[in-house]
């Protein structure tokens, strides 16, 4: 088997506050293989964006990686000095964020921004970089790219801007793209186009994708494997079809049932009572125990770690034999 592009082991992120240390991520481990799309889903506050930020070394102060290691193609990157990390971001890891307007500088033409990014990371002349930029914009589906490249960000629609951001993320030919809610700000009809473009381009360049979203539908369409996060931990990780059709963790099962379907005519949606705990009030034992329909004694006192229950499938739930304590 090939070596993973990204390998995260036992990642723990803490925020020291006046009221003690808050653990935003705890014991998060996963691999992403070359060319693979790993979906990361969860509700607000689950820690999915935090995981993305930790990988690219952009955790807001005073947060810090307290434990664990992040390896990019075998090289450890979680302890790199800022100087060297800047060479990793953009070059080896491309980023796509939810709101394209915040990733583009409104005062510069698209051409200047892409050409600058390309020339920062690749040894190309201005002309060659511009030609490459036009080619990229054309590839992401911007009509009349050679002319539009000299427009400013506000002259594009939301969907077109997100295409520009995708071009920008891919311009230095990264090995990994981290896409944090790339389609959440877009209308459904545009969302489908953006997902298609992203998938195609990454397949072409062989880049792996870490796709962070709250939308299970987007994951189902795009990802190869999916990690379901809850309260800063991975509740379940496995092949996307298996997790969607046959969720093992009671939280992922509830999450799947809570989604209104187009086909099934259900009178009521599956309801998970309560809400995700705040970071300051994560219960002892399994963090999901106050909301879990299958809760028993052990859940209240012992915290389960995401452990392999089938090949390629890890679940953090005491219902399954062989689950380790965290």
């Amino acid at each position: 088997m090939a070596d993973p592009i990204l390998s995260v082991r036992d990642l723990t992120v803490e925020f020291p506050t006046r009221h003690g240390i808050l653990t935003a991520l705890s014991g998060v481990s996963f691999d992403i293989m070359p060319g693979e799309v790993l979906g990361v889903v969860g509700e607000s506050g689950a820690g999915k964006s935090m995981t993305g930020s930790a990988v690219i070394g952009l955790i807001d102060r005073p947060g810090r990686i307290a434990k664990g290691e992040i390896h990019l193609q075998g090289e450890r990157i979680d302890n790199l000095p800022e100087e060297r990390m800047r060479g990793v971001r953009g070059k080896r890891i491309g980023m796509i964020f939810q709101d394209p307007l915040t990733s583009l500088n409104p005062l510069y033409r698209i051409s200047e921004q892409i050409v600058e990014t390309i020339r920062t990371h690749l040894p190309l002349s201005k002309e060659a970089a511009r030609a490459k930029a036009v080619g990229l914009l054309d590839r992401v589906g911007i009509p009349d790219a050679a002319r539009r490249i000299d427009d400013y960000p506000h002259q594009f629609s939301g969907g077109m801007r997100q295409r520009v951001v995708i071009a920008l993320a891919l311009c230095a030919e990264p090995d990994l793209v981290i896409a944090d809610e790339p389609t959440t700000a877009l209308d459904v009809s545009v969302q489908a186009q953006i997902i298609d473009v992203m998938k195609e381009l990454c397949a072409e360049t062989g880049a792996a994708i870490m796709l962070i979203t709250h939308d299970m539908g987007v994951i189902a369409e795009t990802a190869d494997r999916v990690a379901v996060m809850y309260a800063g931990r991975i509740a379940e990780i496995g092949p996307v079809r298996a997790v969607i059709k046959d969720a093992k963790h009671p939280y992922s099962a509830g999450l799947m049932g809570a989604i209104p379907r187009m086909s099934a005519d259900l009178e009521r949606l599956v309801q998970i009572p309560g809400a995700m705990p705040r970071l300051s009030a994560i219960p002892p034992g399994c963090p999901f125990n106050p909301r879990c329909p299958h809760v028993f004694d052990r859940c209240l006192t012992h915290r389960p770690a995401a452990s392999e229950i089938e090949p390629g499938r890890r679940v953090a739930c005491w219902l399954y034999p062989g689950v380790q304590e965290a």
Binding site: V188, G217, E221, L255, R261, M262, L266, R268, Q271, I272
Partner: protein, 327 residues
Amino acid sequence: MSDILLETRNLTRRFDVSAPWLNRKLEGKEKAYVKAVTDVSFSVRRGETFALVGESGSGKSTIARMIVGLLEPTAGDITFDGRSLVEGLRGREARRLRRRFQMIFQDPLASLNPRWRVTDIVAEPLRVFERRQGDRARRARVGELLTLVGLSPEDGAKFPHQFSGGQRQRIAIARALAARPDFIVCDEPTSALDVSVQAQILNLMKDLQAEFGLTYVFISHNLQVVRHMANQIGVLYLGRLAEVNDAEALFANPRHPYTRMLLEAVPDIEMTGRPRKRVEGEIPSPIDPPPGCPFHPRCPLANERCRVEVPPLLDGVACHAVHEGRA
């Protein structure tokens, strides 16, 4: 008693987005209007849910605001229980009609006063509409309402920021129910919520509808949510109704090319592996909508007639291709 509770006829709303007068004179510019809503007619049956779906800029929120009276229509009429809401409605009768409808907004934090305790927020409609009610009776009623939406009466002493997003939306629902309305306009009530919380709120809204015989106008961009909630659906595109049909029929047999495109675009969570047609284009600007059928630049079936003539809504669908039997 008629079966229809609310009806809109040729509802139209324009917004003036012209440059200031002097600039217009000096620069020779024309007055400019956004045609947010044009000629929208639909009727909502008593005790049912009528959903309006559309992408951003389709005019769905403008229609909601016109129904509850936050915006005045430029043209057209809205009738509620046989009475026009647009003309000649004043004084006591206006008050009597107005208390029968309420609105729930997308962002509960923006629609709840952060400086008021929950009790005062929920009691506000009672203070307005039931002025003779005493303090104690009012507080008892607030406790009842909070229990009804799944909170506890003790929560009344807290402030909105002490609640999660889903709980805040429950407070907004309790406030909407306070004056015992029979009609509620819900503008994207769950778009700001996580899926598991969304499921709680949708279930609650369905339960309340069954218990009190409420009629909903439900506005959303999310087709799955609409499928779950609605009896009837109107699909909006650039301020016009493209198609109106029973929910079941609309999903089983979408007729307008835009409806078909929307359904195609919904992610396939069942993972049936159905092949997807590629969706083309984006919604044009409502300041300068295309002539003829507003959908024609993106429509695979468009012909010469579509480019010049606006299709009327006939038999629930506004499309020349469908009318001519080409679709």
